[in-house]
């Protein structure tokens, strides 16, 4: 049958106008608080703008302070800034480890809790999710004390004298441990919801074919819940790239745990070097956008869509 395209009637068009008027509120919000600031940020990144030494409005002297890709070059090569920046990038990349580890642990717990004959599943679920609710500041304070170089619980349990809070690698490892701890609950709740929605017939069929519990998990459950796992992976990576509180409170700004956002904060807000910080933040935005777009592309290809 041929599809006839009918022009919407007068009432429909009026409805459309009202709907647009309603969502224009959100458009204003997005433009004022996201899109315009991003454009400004990109503009800043091509200039030598220093807010503390501002003599005239930004636009009136944009020609004088324009330095092209100078900031981007400085981020990677300048002897004063490149060390900071590259270190922040490496730290961020290393601390991404907590995402897959947290997901693996959460999946394991969810797989157990999704079994119908586990007692007290609700209680376990409730307690394991608690770290997700707790505030980042309080948790950073307590973990910092547990990892303390001198008085820390972890050092005395292990009988070691490791410099958890000051060693370049140990401090990152400690943050990874802390974030795995904080991430298990989230993975568990989301994966559990996805697992409980899986059609029970698949399991029946697999049981008849002689598949054990492990096999059933990897051959049925995991492929079906890939969208959830993928969602967790992407949001986890994006969230992790924006880490800041951990560098500030857990590591109290220790170089071994400085992140890109910490870099932006140090150079942009504290030292007012807007150009340099904006260049870093533009790179961060581009990275996150690439991850998101790639995720959309990949998820079309290999993620199960039931």
């Amino acid at each position: 049958m041929e599809k006839v395209k009918i022009r919407p009637g007068r009432l429909k068009r009026k409805e459309g106008r009202i709907a647009l008027a309603i969502i224009s509120v959100k458009y204003v919000g997005e433009i004022v608080f996201v899109f315009v600031p991003v454009l400004f940020s990109i503009l800043y990144s091509f200039t030598d703008y220093n807010a503390a030494r501002e003599t005239a409005p930004f636009f009136s002297r944009i020609g004088d302070i324009w330095i092209g890709f100078g900031n981007y070059k400085n981020l990677f090569t300048h002897f004063m800034y490149s060390e900071y920046f590259l270190r922040s990038v490496c730290n961020n990349l290393f601390m991404l480890l907590s995402v897959p580890l947290g997901i693996a642990a959460g999946l394991l717990v969810a797989a157990i809790l999704s079994q119908p004959d586990i007692r007290f599943a609700g209680v376990f679920r409730m307690l394991i999710y608690m770290p997700v609710v707790a505030g980042a500041v309080a948790m950073n304070i307590i973990w910092r004390y547990m990892f303390d170089n001198q008085y820390g619980l972890i050092n005395s349990l292990l009988g070691t004298q490791w410099m958890w809070l000051t060693d370049d690698w140990l401090v990152k490892t400690a943050i990874v441990i802390k974030n795995v701890w904080g991430g298990v609950g989230r993975t568990m709740i989301l994966c559990l919801a996805a697992m409980l929605a899986v059609d029970g017939n698949y399991y029946e069929a697999a049981k008849l074919d002689g598949a054990g519990a492990t096999r059933r998990f990897f051959a049925i459950t995991l492929p079906i819940i890939t969208p959830t796992v993928f969602y967790l992976l992407i949001t986890g990576v994006i969230g992790n790239l924006q880490m800041y509180t951990d560098s500030l409170i857990f590591a109290s700004g220790d170089p071994g745990a400085q992140t890109v956002v910490y870099f932006i904060w140090t150079f942009g807000i504290r030292r007012s070097m807007y150009g340099l910080a904006a260049a870093a933040s533009t790179l961060l935005t581009i990275t996150i956008m690439i991850i998101t777009v790639v995720q959309f592309r990949i998820s079309d290809r290999w993620v199960f869509e039931g």
Partner: protein, 331 residues
């Protein structure tokens, strides 16, 4: 303290052996069972199947509960350690020789001292002002915007939705410099406006959540409203809002906790002592010297209490609400 390490290692080894044995047994018995279905197996193999599935059941059960208990203990331990440490004396907190879980004489006065030293009441009031100013407006505006998407005619709906959702990709750290500059020029530093203003236009993620929820409400209700002569605003207020109770409750709870725990934005805009939120007050308390540690833990425990109270009270929203956003949104 090395005994603890040994116990831990033994436990881990037992777990590993149990997993390996369980896996080996279960896969062999599964193979045999499959053979049995097809053509039959001997008595010895049958006995193995019985033994191994019994082993798997018990071993698997022990393993499963073991993992659950370990995860639970690990999840709870930092909170317990925080409370335990908040009742210690400064000397006990920095005693490296002897770690005690139950302090000899619990120092309840630490809580009183934390409460007064950092003006917790002021911090609490500041946090509550932000909560009260942001939540109602944001919830109503977001659900109205969602209504336009879910129940109203609109051309290029998907395009509009994608443009709005694309804003979620931008990290806050990337927009913070121009925004900070603008707020500075407007004299908004050390006021609550930088935290309140952006929420006045609704939140995209909340809107997305409401769209999913509103799609589940039958269109017929709104059509009958239309026939009775209700305008769109009336349809929204009288038909949609009353039915969105659970969705709104869940989002209010999430937003309350999000605001309560928010640190990055407040730490930029609120630097004066009299506008600091609870989290910022806690942070400045933790910058003190080592002798203050017990008070810091007491302060941290105090900031967690309302959170956990809300968490336990609204238990079902956490599971239900997250489940919808988690499987509905991809990215």
């Amino acid at each position: 303290m090395n005994a603890a390490v040994i116990v831990l290692l033994v436990l881990l080894a037992a777990l590993a052996v149990s997993v390996a044995a369980g896996y080996a047994f279960s896969s062999r018995s599964a193979r045999l069972r499959a053979m049995d279905v097809r053509g039959g197996i001997g008595a010895r193999q049958k006995a193995f199947v019985r033994f191994s599935s019994a082993y798997c059941r018990i071993g698997g059960r022990v393993l499963a509960y073991g993992i659950l208990f370990l995860t639970c203990a690990a999840s709870l331990f930092p909170f317990l350690w925080m409370i335990s440490s908040s009742l210690k004396t400064p000397a006990e907190v920095s005693n490296t020789m002897r770690l005690v879980f139950f302090p000899a004489s619990p120092q309840w006065s630490n809580y009183a001292r934390a409460w007064t030293t950092i003006d917790m009441v002021g911090g609490f009031l500041n946090t509550m002002i932000i909560e009260a100013a942001t939540i109602p407006v944001c919830v109503i505006v977001s659900s109205l915007e969602a209504f336009a998407f879910s129940k109203m005619y609109m051309r290029h709906k998907t395009v509009h939705l994608l443009i709005l959702l694309s804003g979620l990709m931008v990290p806050y750290a990337s927009v913070v410099l121009p925004l900070y500059r603008a707020y500075y020029k407007l004299g908004f530093i050390n006021t609550f406006w930088p935290l309140i203003l952006p929420t006045m236009f609704g939140s995209v993620s909340q809107m997305f959540f409401y769209i999913q929820y509103q799609k589940g409400i039958p269109d017929a209700m709104f059509e009958s409203g239309k026939i009775d002569g209700a305008g769109y605003l009336q349809q929204f207020v009288h038909i949609m809002l009353p039915m969105m109770g659970p969705a709104i409750a869940a989002q209010v709870v999430f937003m309350f906790i999000g605001n309560w725990n928010d640190f990055f934005a407040p730490s930029l805009y609120l630097t004066n002592e009299n506008v600091k939120t609870l989290q910022l007050k806690l942070k400045s308390l933790s910058d003190g010297n080592r002798m203050d540690l017990p008070y810091v833990f007491a302060g941290a425990a105090i900031t967690c209490v309302p959170l956990f109270a809300i968490y336990f009270a609204f238990q079902r929203y956490f599971v239900g609400g997250l489940a919808i956003t988690g499987t509905g949104v991809k990215g």
